[in-house]
Subunit: 129 residues, 2 copies
């Protein structure tokens, strides 16, 4: 693949089932986990924004990166979490998902990778940071 | 499709090429646009978090929703924007992307729709809000 045909970035979508409901309600732990995953990927965190729905409910959160973003949304009552990891430049989204999988220990996971900006001449596009 | 087999939500990934660079640098306009798109979809905005890279650079932003999230990352020098719209419950991500397409007027667009949580019994999962 030539530099000219390289894409802008990779977008990982991960459906995680059979996760501990207790963990999926712990907003603080999940925020720390996503930050650790971003660091493992070599990404730069610009900000973390998490919301807890309370009363045993789930968590919805995003981490804004210099290389795009990560998000996690949880449904503890179903043992389910949906993560997405979009990274451009030299950051490695696969390293980030490995950190999430190791910590959340889903009974089942389905990870889809979508190439973003495949038609863009990436030599004409500067990294975001 | 029975209620039992319904998914958690839909995740739209949109690659938009040939967009006005001036618009792709306007953080305030893009934040207002994503908020308008969320409202058009019937979603509830919990918070908007945008970062401008300065010096003619792009914008990276996320809108945290009660129904999950929207994001937009722009590369003005390539006329390119990458959007993602993940919505659960009754919010309609197609209505949101129509608002973005009408405002950004890309010369080319590629929209991919990924069903999230297809294996989850959605009757056991409460809407996030």
């Amino acid at each position: 693949m030539t530099a000219r045909s390289a894409a802008i970035g990779q977008h990982l979508l991960a459906d995680l089932s059979g996760v501990s409901p207790q963990l999926l309600r712990d907003s603080g732990a999940l925020e720390a986990l996503l930050s650790a995953a971003a660091r493992a990927a070599g990404a730069t965190v610009l900000g973390c924004h998490f919301h807890h729905f309370g009363s045993g409910g789930g968590v919805t959160g995003v981490v804004l990166l210099a290389e795009s973003h990560m998000s996690l949304h949880t449904w503890p009552e179903a043992g389910f979490a949906a993560a997405d990891i979009f990274m451009c430049g030299h950051a490695d989204p696969r390293a980030a998902i490995e950190v999430l999988l190791a910590a959340l220990e889903p009974a089942e996971s389905r990870v889809e990778i979508v190439v973003r900006g495949a038609a863009v001449d990436s030599t004409a596009a500067r990294p975001l940071r």
